[in-house]
């Protein structure tokens, strides 16, 4: 089985967010980058499937050279090789176009990715990739098993779960608890250094959206503690100050 796992390099969840260039770009100074947490789950499941069924796991990232530590970590966790499309991942369409271009050159049985990146949270890439390749795309997948050429999938839906069966190849957006979250071991880290990481130039330049500006949410207000026995005070504050009642 050939599996492609698409990963994002995103700011660590504890990053203090600020902007530059007239509020159109994230201020990257001092930001620690991590693999997108949902992508991490996709990769972990890919590695488990490889252990069960054999095959290869290739990691794909659309990003500039500074994303390579994130790619190396994926190799350390158990991917066999990696491809980096050397470009700033400007929007979902552009990224999907790159993934589709790589997928057209290689017959993957599964194309896995996180259900969304945790920086812009678009959650669109898997859908666009599926459309471009003419393959079914399903998200958010919380359970995935393979039997022959069939995939058994559990997808989260509003208020419940959806059990699906589909024939490979497929494009899937993943989330927990699809796999046990993996931490690389020291040997994996050492062997990652010698695994192939191929850098390719982007296949097109069709950015369909452009960021006009970002705005931070208003800062969180201070906490006011109200003793349990003063419920009336709470209600009156909710009326007069918070104005939510």
């Amino acid at each position: 089985m050939k599996i492609l796992v698409c990963v994002t390099s995103v700011p660590d969840t504890t990053t203090k967010i600020s902007f530059t260039d007239n509020n159109t770009k994230l201020n990257r100074a001092g930001v620690q980058y991590i693999t997108g947490p949902y992508d991490d789950y996709a990769l972990s499941r890919a590695v488990e499937l490889k252990e069960q069924h054999g095959g290869t796991v290739t990691v794909l990232n659309v990003g500039e050279a500074d994303t390579e530590p994130v790619i190396r970590k994926c190799l350390a966790i158990g991917a066999d090789d990696a491809i980096r499309v050397n470009a700033d991942p400007t929007d979902a369409f552009f990224v999907a176009e790159q993934i589709a271009a790589i997928a057209r050159e290689n017959a993957y049985d599964l194309i896995l990715m996180g259900r969304e990146s945790i920086d812009y949270n678009g959650g669109q890439v898997h859908g666009i990739v599926g459309e471009m390749l003419g393959l079914p795309s399903i998200s958010p997948v919380m359970k995935l098993d393979i039997e022959g050429s069939k995939a058994r999938i559990t997808r989260e839906i509003e208020g419940g779960k959806d059990e699906l069966e589909a024939t490979l190849p497929l494009v899937l957006g993943c989330q927990e608890p699809i796999a046990e979250w993996k931490i690389p071991n020291m040997r994996g880290i050492m062997s990652a250094r010698t695994k192939p990481l191929k850098v390719v130039e982007p296949a097109g330049n069709d950015t369909l959206t452009k960021v006009a500006g970002y705005e931070l949410p208003p800062p969180r207000g201070a906490v006011r503690m109200i003793p349990a026995e003063e419920a009336e005070t709470l209600i009156s504050l909710l009326r007069t100050e918070a104005k939510v009642l």
Binding site: P69, K73, A76, P184, N185, M186, I189, M190
Partner: protein, 379 residues
């Protein structure tokens, strides 16, 4: 562009941080209060390759150097010094003694299990009456055909109770003669070997410290490490590396305490501003940051020299002395910056304050480090 070595180091450190955040941090207080030694976490650390950091891959280890090892110990200790201490003692005392002085058969028999965490290792030099003065130990080993018979006891031994394998140094010739000690590998379950009291400690409470007792304990000569009479000299060499471990442990504790203090100082408001804005607090932070940086540089210098195969007795002692005193100071100032909250168990810094103190005592007190350094200067 960062170098490959730095990128690797960064990935190792981040991996350890990920593990510590998920599998250690949530339990720190509970383990501390219950004095619970989490064997299962040690085994998980083994699966990640963190219990055989310096062991070559051929023996199932990670095959890394001291630079990476320092990063591992410091990163664990930033979250929990107890686990840092246990990982340090396992790697650099027990495992390293067998790696450095074991014969091929001994390495094959013990290193893979120690590196994988299947076996937890202990190392026994200290005795009730001989700590700093370890050369005068009373535990004896007498030859009996193809065996040795051990009698005596060792105390303050990390993993003295739960350890599966211990390297034990015992006297094999008259006291006050040179070359009078020999090192042996003792397996748990060997008749005549038992664990005594587990210490109830000020800090490092999740790291097990216990007594090991030997009563006519028969050890095959095949478990003797190196030559008869070389045990004490071997120990000093093991401790040269061990001191880099304790320097790393100290560094991690200092960084952990400082990190909490830095954050708190920016959040806590008094007199209408963050307390970090008061020069008295700002300067404390500046001094700590500077001293921690110096401790870090000394520790990595010793690690790099060791990796380059150079003599490190002086540099390792300097790193251990300085970093351990910085750890105590950083933890002390962190409690001060937290004020009354720092004195309570609801905030993390009081634990650093208790844990840090071990660093100026274990594997040679600060006084003994000064003795080692001055002897190196005056020789």
């Amino acid at each position: 562009m960062i170098s490959e070595i730095e990128e690797n180091q960064d990935l190792i450190v981040r991996t350890v941080r990920d593990f510590a955040t998920r599998h250690i941090e949530p339990f720190v207080r509970e383990w501390d209060e219950k004095q619970y030694f989490p064997l299962e976490v040690m085994q998980q650390l083994g699966q990640l390759g963190l219990l055989g950091v310096l062991v070559p891959e051929a023996y199932g280890g990670a095959g890394l150097g001291y630079r990476e090892y320092v990063g591992v110990i410091a990163e664990i200790s930033r979250v929990d010094g107890s686990i840092g201490l246990s990982v340090a003692a396992h790697n650099s005392l027990c495992t390293n003694h067998i790696l450095l002085f074991g014969n091929e058969d001994q390495k094959q028999r013990f290193l893979p299990q120690l590196a994988s965490g299947e076996f937890i290792g202990a190392w026994g030099l200290t005795e009730p009456n001989t700590g700093s003065d370890a050369g005068n130990m009373r535990t004896t080993a007498t030859r009996d055909g193809t065996h040795w018979i051990l009698n005596g006891s060792k105390n303050f031994i990390t993993h003295g109770k739960s350890g599966h394998v211990a390297v034990v140094i015992a006297r094999t010739a008259d006291p006050n003669t040179s070359h009078n000690a020999t090192a042996f590998i003792v397996e748990r379950g060997t008749p005549g070997f038992s664990a005594g009291k587990k210490e109830d400690k000020l800090g490092m409470r999740a790291s097990e410290t216990a007594e090991m007792i030997f009563q006519d304990c028969r050890i095959p000569d095949a478990n003797r490490l190196g030559e008869v009479g070389d045990g004490f000299i071997q120990s000093l060499k093991v401790l040269d590396g061990g001191r880099i471990s304790i320097a790393a442990l100290s560094l991690g504790i200092a960084q952990g305490a400082f990190g909490h203090a830095l954050r708190y100082a920016q959040e806590r408001q008094q007199f209408g501003q963050a307390i970090a804005r008061f020069q008295a607090i700002g300067f404390k932070l500046a001094d700590l940051a500077t001293e921690i940086e110096a401790a870090r540089l000394l520790t990595y210098q010793a690690a790099d020299l060791k990796d380059a195969g150079k003599a490190v007795t002086r540099e390792a002692a300097m790193a251990k002395l300085f970093a351990s005193e910085v750890a105590v100071k950083a933890a002390n100032e962190a409690v001060q910056i937290f004020g009354g909250y720092g004195f309570t168990k609801d905030f993390p810094v009081e634990k650093y304050y208790r844990d840090a103190k071990l660093c100026t005592i274990g594997e040679g007190t600060s006084e003994i480090q000064r003795l080692v350094i001055s002897r190196q200067l005056l020789k």
